[in-house]
Subunit: 390 residues, 2 copies
DNA sequence: CGGGTTTTGTTCTTCCGTAGAACATAAAGC
DNA sequence: GCTTTATGTTCTACGGAAGAACAAAACCCG
């Protein structure tokens, strides 16, 4: 039930606004800047800032005297002593990463390994050990506001329903992991693609990326994805949205392990693409690009681009998205895929005549899911800063 | 730029909350009911209600003495003297409808006619005349808060970019129409499917329907649609979302007038379906259902269901929708289509194992777009009631 | 039939958070 | 050293919700 707003609602909503404003800014802001950007008076802005500084959500920087008239401003920055833990298990890696409110990586550990068909309890135990080591090295002043775990599959509350790339299913993932973590740091599960998409929509906590509406396509062994509308990841009513890998490209196409036929991932998934190209299944994307001249590789890339074009055009038609962002192995393959893909989107998207969809590729460190999981936890802090104040 | 909340923000936000609460309720509420449902005190709720009653946004009903202890309550209802005008031009009809805040049809006129290839200025002129007649019959006490026009095509601000079913394109639709309307009643354009979807999501102004997340599929000559997430119609960043009719079912399929191949509407659009069934293009849906035993009709329905299954499963996979709602001619065909369609969704939707998507059909008066256009205008009133208060 | 009970609606005071104005502070410009 | 300019702080006023007390209008019951 929606509840009425009272005086204290004003305060918490304005505290959140001030915090978001500082986080979204390109550089440090002064109290006066905050007042202007939030449309409040300097008195009010200063009082709110003071509260946030006292709670550690904002930091006051050194007063650096710019060659400018007037009293020098006190620069404000997101609190460096508030962080969150992001974890990820993928077919090829384990990752743990701590981000602070400024979006900086405070600490990280990434371990590459083939985890397909691995034992869930052992693998999550390894991740726990990895994390314990990571947390031991984190500065003592840093308070962790939350944790998240990115998994490549369907997630429901604390359960992993099914992660085909790992061969895992029906798993109490949080229970298996939280034994290895501090008691007050129970991780929230999330879909890897949803969380990776968040890193594109939000370059740092509360700082919007250049794209507000796009379809993120995560190339893994299979293909995941997430639609982002107005900067918000569409998770769906049960959290199972984004299965763009199982959009049908051709009903007469090859059978997919999902039980259906002609799914996108049967053409553009990593395994499918490499098999079609006649390359070993562990070929790194860079080598695929290097061999793009070979006839087999070329035709496999072509088939992948065609399948992506058909499937993504459908999604773009339904959601009116100005951009498609390629992630995972598809990011590395973006250059050879782009011409064909953009041409197909131009042809198959009804509104392309007025605005042609753009194809972009993720550039960033690996294990984006871990970063996204930390960003999600930090977004909770931004949404309700009052909970973190005395 | 987002602005800080002040005291007056509290008031307007709470006024909107009270108004929404009364609109969303099943029956009349008392001031005390409002207080309970909004979590405010009776004093506050009463003050807010009084303001809304003074502004005509709420009405006080007759105190009907129920056989109940305690002082009898004053029943509150959405204001019957505030309404909005909804208009629609479609391939087969012109419609004008006035709805009040209670969601009742105050007046309406629907004229059926074949408008395919008609002259835009003449047709909109006819709609203007129709509307003038309609407004003349509206009770004098009714204030119109806004107007909307539903068109079967891509809309951009006051322009209609392209309406293939009508054969119209690049049209200043609002300018052509507003000459026939009162000066203060400039209609807002909207896509027909988006607005029809709203009538499913919102059965009356501010009253949510039973479904909060679904894909609306509007069968016309072609096929339009709209995704609804959390009760909100996804219009897309430019308002061009919902083109589910051009999701690809089979890249080797028949050419579509959009320039692409194998689009859904080439299988399940009204003209395509009737052509495949060997029936005249003006056959009413009821007759198609009656002849569902004929081999040709049966196979056409089968092909349509198969195409719908493939295309809608893709959308459901990406957006995690628990339901699909069929509208337009597809609503009438829902019974013969459903078994096949539900079976395909069960097979092709990845999460169907945990929650099988439901197929529902619209039941309601024709020209849902006109109703939706009026609902949209009334939603503006609900969102910011302060503007309508003295 | 009249007082107790119960629920609704109103009145009045208190409290909280923002607005606005005045004031203090710390620099550059001349 | 005085003026200018921008930042940050202090103080009062005001608006709106909370909370408590009170008034109103019905039913219940002896």
């Amino acid at each position: 039930m929606e509840t009425g707003a009272r005086q204290s609602t004003l305060r918490s909503s304005n505290l959140a606004l001030v915090l978001r404003t500082v986080c979204a800014a390109d550089g440090p802001l002064s109290r006066a800047d905050v007042a202007v950007r939030t449309g409040t008076t300097r008195a009010t802005a200063a009082r709110l800032v003071d509260e946030l500084v006292a709670g550690g959500l904002l930091d006051e920087g050194e007063r650096l005297a710019l060659p400018r008239r007037g009293r020098p401003a006190t620069p404000l920055l997101p609190g460096a002593r508030i962080g969150a833990l992001g974890l990820q298990v993928d077919a090829g890696l384990l990752a743990a990463r701590v981000l602070d409110l400024r979006g900086r990586v405070v600490a990280e550990r990434v371990e590459e390994d083939d985890l397909v068909g691995s034992d869930p309890a052992r693998t999550l135990g390894r991740l726990g050990v990895l994390t314990t080591g990571l947390l031991a090295g984190v500065p003592a002043g840093l308070r962790l506001a939350g944790a998240g775990l990115a998994l490549p599959g369907l997630v429901d509350g604390d359960l992993l329903l099914r992660a085909p790339n790992l061969g895992w299913s029906d798993l109490a993932a949080v229970d298996l992991l939280s034994g290895h973590l501090p008691d007050d740091l129970r991780p929230v599960l999330g879909n890897e693609a949803d969380l990776a998409a968040r890193t594109v929509a939000e370059t740092a906590p509360g700082r919007p990326g250049p794209l507000r509406d796009f379809l993120y396509v995560s190339g893994q062994i299979g293909i995941g994805g997430a639609a982002v509308l107005g900067g918000r990841v569409v998770t769906g009513s049960a959290g199972w949205a984004g299965e763009v890998g199982h959009v049908c490209v051709d009903p007469e196409g090859p059978a997919c392990r999902c039980g259906s036929t002609g799914c996108l991932e049967q053409y553009a998934g990593r395994h499918a693409l490499l098999a079609a190209a006649g390359l070993p299944l562990d070929t790194p994307p860079a080598e695929v690009v290097a061999r793009a001249g070979d006839a087999d590789v070329r035709s496999a890339l072509d088939a992948a681009a065609r399948a992506l074009g058909v499937a993504l055009a459908g999604v773009v038609n339904v959601l009116d998205l100005p951009a498609v962002v390629l992630g995972g192995h598809l990011a590395a393959l973006a250059e050879p895929l782009r011409p064909r893909l953009e041409e197909l989107l131009g042809r198959r998207v009804l509104s392309a005549r007025w605005r042609r969809p753009v194809v972009a590729a993720v550039t960033g460190p690996p294990a984006a899911g871990a970063t996204g999981a930390a960003l999600r936890a930090l977004a909770d802090v931004l949404a309700d800063p009052v909970r973190r104040l005395p």
